[in-house]
Symmetry: D2
Subunit: 268 residues, 4 copies
């Protein structure tokens, strides 16, 4: 089974480049499952019901979120109605929405888990290690193919979680930093791992946002408003090949595509 | 001018693999200047006078540090005597040691700056943007070839600093996360940039440290002691080509080498 | 000279109780100078030009701010026109507004400084120790009577700053935590000190905000909106007596008044 | 039932003043239960088995801890053998030691809970709200008299927890900041509350530690070693009167005593 996982989609620029490239990449890699982190899909901060549907219509199977999950208020009521939109699993009991999903793909069943780190965040998810452990036990009753989106800041926490789940899930794919790391590999127990898959958003930017505004924020320490940057986008993904019988990863490959400036569709 | 920049060297494992590969890589890339971040060179935490000298004897021109600069107490008195060992420039006035160095290479003069980020750190460096700005102005009187090691956690702060210095320095090379990023590029103004060059240390590890100990720390939240992991190392670097007349970067290439398990020298 | 310093005023509830009590307290204590921290005066978050004027019309001489200084956007343009409204002194060079003020009181000149801590804040003021040191040197050319509002979270940073300025200023009054501390005293060098003066806002509240909303925020980790709580207010202040010739503090006394529930003016 | 609760004891200075005053205060207030936070009792950082026994021999019934619980390594093995020494309840499952204790006093049974906050700490306890809720339910089967030591930094988290437990426990006593707050009161449901009881340690200090060393740490940002300050101590406590039949608090009073410089026993 081939799994195509796209990192944090930032704004319209990210969505448009994704829309154009998703079909060709799916065909090229024979993807059976497509996962997209959508926490920045709506103007760089959060996601709306309309944007969720837009992503799903492209052929995305599961949309994951992160610390920006609740940036748009209407998502709190909507999320219970859309099992393909995942908020982090390890939020307090009673949180609206779902933290994992099972998808019937042409190559068999696959589960996706959205998980959140605790290091350096100003809010307090539950222990990701213990919460994901029992969820993985539950999901393995259904399918051995399990992909975990681990949304975190600290490379140490992400690596530790990768090793913690090694041999128990098919892949641990880091998100949140918006910068792709070059450490994709298969861990000893057969779990594909990358610290961060990177983003789908404007190339010439500070993690997707306007360079000048981001700079002003650092220089002035004022609450400068940040808008999604303009110009051609980058698309960051990994394609993971999994043995559907055992759930072991057979391969992980990074994808990093740069939109060309004169691309006719870049009309953002 | 070719500049070879190695990321955070972790422990003996990192030092040994670096010792073996530095000569061949220097020759292969025709390196005129070699920079190594040594903040984890002594058993994973800090650096000692002896380890500093060991690195310099390998042919390293400048050793940079970061948040672990002062982990070993004797470094505070030693650092004033070794101008090739740099602590972050933007520490409070009166801090021992040097924050930049000028090296006479075969291809001309080059300056190296060690700079520290503020986001997510529990200590308080001065504003890296303003401090580096005036230092760069000063150094440009001496040479246009300036390499900045920006030791930081947040990808946003690192990207912003890259754009801030774009066109004013030859390269901004991120360190600290111990994971190489895949976003090396030349910014519009001619500055080579990478968010993090990655580490030189044990492959099978949590950012260089023992996997089981790191996991226990996350799982128990106890002050579990962390030791450098055992086994073959990874070596992370970038090679940057700079026009010595203008200081503009002409290219930046990532290097990522994996020590083989049966390598005879891996006797750690 | 008698100085009356009121802690963070929270919303209309805080403003109304202050309005009612300021005159009587001023007379009772023979106050020559009245300082109010107004960072939460506008609906609990930030301050507006209108609320600033409302406070000044009450007879407040200087309004100080803190981490909420910029919560209301129009304050950035307004603040340059009102020298009696102080934002923290140790913000980056170029920040709008003033960080200190000199007031001509009936008992002589007095200076007020607004200063911000760095520990536990997600933004990055400049080093408060060095910045306040040179400002105090400058102000002492004008008057020995200097009151510093130190807006900080960590008790260690606040105590350290108190000792740092001991003998150089008349008083260091902590703000920000909204809870009055019982450690008011004269330090050995003659500086009056209190870790936190406390707030002027609703009693039955979580630091001024609605109890149920605050609890929901902790329990759900969702971005629950916080409104100023209802009901009778508390008023927290200190009165400091200073020798106007030397600037030495002669006394510091805490004031903590509770509005009665059946108070006719409590119509919020 | 009268409960005497002393805040964080800092070093020998704190222990000695406590030793001298515990008996007289116990008699004066007719205390049936004595609780002491001992997280800084051993030279300012952590506690040892010997220091634990020293405190218990003074007549302390329960010693609570906080973020410094594990500063001394031998405590991890010792703590399982001493049910009167409490580490925070909301540490990960499997943590050594106990998070609560039940004491048979002359006035009936009383339970003590040690709980830890999450805001601003660099480690990750479990959710204090949910964890304490189920523990309180369990303890109320045994006794309605329950005292919670809430070790936290942020005043908002402490106040929220107070209201959360209001009517369910006899008292919520904050610790950790080492500065006594002046907000002691009985909450509407009958729970005694104070944001922080303050410390028992050297008066002339930065939260118990040497002023000059603490200042150097802030000024240099170097890892300056902190030692317990010298000189006369302060003793901070609350005495809480509880109806042993209902567990409702009838009163809470702050105690703040200053050791005299010429006190013969101050031989530290
Ligand atoms: Fe994120
Ligand atoms: Fe994101
Ligand atoms: Fe580092
Ligand atoms: Fe490092
Ligand atoms: Fe504040
Ligand atoms: Fe405030
Ligand atoms: Fe503590
Ligand atoms: Fe403490």
């Amino acid at each position: 089974m081939n799994i195509l996982f796209f990192g944090d989609v930032v704004g319209k620029a990210g969505r448009q480049f994704l829309a154009r490239r998703l079909g060709p990449l799916r065909r090229e890699h024979g993807a059976d499952l497509v996962v997209v982190n959508g926490e920045n899909a709506a103007a760089g901060a959060g996601i709306t019901p309309a944007v969720t549907q837009e992503l799903l219509r492209l052929g995305v199977d599961v949309v994951t979120l992160g610390n920006h999950a609740w940036d748009r208020r209407d998502i709190q009521t909507y999320i219970d109605s859309e099992p393909r939109l995942l908020r982090p699993l390890n939020l307090p009991a009673g949180t609206p929405g779902f933290g994992s999903a099972v998808v019937n793909t042409a190559a068999g069943r696959a589960a996706v888990v959205c998980l959140h780190g605790r290091v350096f965040f100003p809010f307090h998810p539950d222990d990701p290690f213990r919460v994901v452990q029992s969820e993985v036990e539950r999901l393995r009753e259904i399918t051995p193919v399990i992909v975990v989106d681990f949304h975190g800041e600290a490379t140490s926490e992400k690596a530790a979680l990768g090793y913690f789940l090694d041999g128990k899930v098919s892949a641990v794919v880091g998100t949140h930093t918006h910068v792709q790391t070059a450490d994709e590999r298969i861990l000893p127990g057969g779990t594909a791992y990358i610290t961060d898959v990177g983003m789908c958003g404007p190339q010439h930017s500070v993690i997707g946002m306007d360079v000048e505004q981001a700079l002003q924020r650092f220089l002035t320490q004022l609450p400068v408003r940040l808008e999604v940057a303009r110009g051609p986008a980058v698309l960051s993904a990994v394609v993971i090949t999994v043995d559907p019988g055992t759930g072991k990863a057979l391969g992980i490959r990074r994808i990093l595509e740069h939109e060309q400036p004169d691309d006719p569709d870049n009309s953002d």
